[in-house]
Symmetry: none
Subunit: 249 residues, 2 copies
DNA sequence: CAAAATACTGCAAAATCTTGCAGCGCTTGA
DNA sequence: TCAAGCGCTGCAAGATTTTGCAGTATTTTG
């Protein structure tokens, strides 16, 4: 049996039972517990599950916590969110995609700002619901467990009926030539629809993501009107974007 | 049993009952009280609950519900939720309206139960997202701040396209003659649409709400197939419903 | 205050983890 | 073809964690 197969099996078992025991898996696959232990170690590093003493548990196992969730490079994302705030004017209609950067933006929206906010993201909707002057409209559809946004035909359909002032499009990878890319096909479809539903597309993007590339393409860089990073405007990483008719903040 | 599992179980129990006894938990899980004590110590350190003499309490509990009245009502809702669980079968498609009773139901859905779950309620969607075997489909639309469910044409439209096996319709007021009533017009529209989208309508309802009346009518009692209360079946409060062709649990 | 319940401490057995190592099969390149 | 290199796997020794128990301290309750 191939290592790949084995790990796939483990992921599957965790998905079904929410938890597994080292000894069970080793037994079922007729390999030593050491091998399974190593597999689980790798899968843990790859964030496919959570390794615990004696086995492993599913990541989404009872641990959803919109407020307490750990956000990586929070500092950078905060800076980006602050810059993004400057683009929003009272009375506008905006669209927030998922992602922790946009969640930070949502958190920082001033209480007195009047807005209509569309979003397919559950954590962002929860956050916005606490703001009295913001009308929240949730894009319905099937909820994807890992990204916590709605996806699928129904959601895309709902998007096709709107045209908002600004879309803040959380971005996993942006590349000067290849544009915006994603690793999840369903999210690609959602983001395409979001771009289509917006007059202006803003891409908040921490510097780590600049120049990286994923499997599927969302759109070219030319579709993005504004790019926001935590970097200073003269940073060399941004050079490649400077003659692309994009506003950089 | 893994330590992780045990601790998740404890967190869950605290979430449901707001308080737990060391001995109860040790009994249910067949481990020594020392083990549970140590778990609770860790969870306390991780600020997941508050350790007290003899057990633990939920963190928000002491702040939000000092009187204990809320718990009492929560106990009733828990009983109702437990009864409601019996109506759900593996593989079904269900629809959960908003309300705390349905939230309790959502929280109690067993992790191994496979379901497709439609809901317009934000808290319920958050709860369900943590369950791996449940496909969550969110009914999109404008989010109402106080009820935390989506309302309006878009949501009703989405409802019009589905037909689920069972709808659990959280109920504010139920009256033997006047049927189900609500004080919010928009929610009335939503609930009407939900009834229309379901083969079977179940109304979980704590006894305080029986016999009360609100401004707008959702439907007559005859549209409800099953009514669930925390009362015993022979309670006098239920007499008025007994010749109305409703199953009472 | 006294009895009962609960908490803490140290300890020992069992399970599990870590680490280093050797055997095995596969690939690579002379 | 064969030797070297590499990754995967299982094994073993020692470290670490987990768990239950017993004895003692502390808190609760009547």
């Amino acid at each position: 049996m191939l290592k790949e197969e084995r790990q796939q099996f483990i992921i599957n078992e965790v998905g079904i039972h929410n938890r597994i025991l080292l000894t069970d898996i080793a037994d079922q696959l007729n390999v030593s517990v050491d091998t399974i232990r190593r597999d689980i170690k790798e899968l843990h590093a790859a964030k496919q599950l959570k390794k615990v003493h004696g086995g492993a548990v599913s990541l989404g196992f009872n641990n959803y916590n919109p407020t307490g969730k750990k956000i990586y490079s929070l500092e950078k994302k905060s800076q980006i969110a602050e810059k993004a705030l400057g683009l929003i004017k009272d009375g506008q209609v905006i669209l927030l995609s998922g992602g922790t950067t946009n969640l930070e933006l949502a958190r920082r929206l001033p209480p007195k700002l009047k807005l209509t906010c569309f979003t397919p993201s559950l954590p962002i909707a929860v956050q916005l619901l606490g703001k009295n002057n913001i009308e929240v409209i949730f894009i319905g559809g099937r909820l994807s467990k890992d990204s916590q946004i709605t996806v699928g035909g129904s959601a895309i359909n709902m998007l096709s009926e709107i045209k908002v002032d600004i879309c803040f499009l959380g971005t996993n990878s942006i590349h000067p030539m290849e544009g915006l890319t994603e690793f999840d096909w369903e999210i690609v479809q959602m983001k395409k629809a979001m771009i289509h539903s917006s007059r202006k597309v803003v891409s908040p993007c921490i510097s780590e993501k600049i120049g990286s590339l994923q499997r599927y393409k969302i759109c070219g860089v030319e579709e993005v009107d504004v790019m926001i990073t935590e970097l200073e405007p003269w940073d060399v990483k941004l050079d490649a974007f400077k003659n692309l008719n994009i506003q950089i903040l």
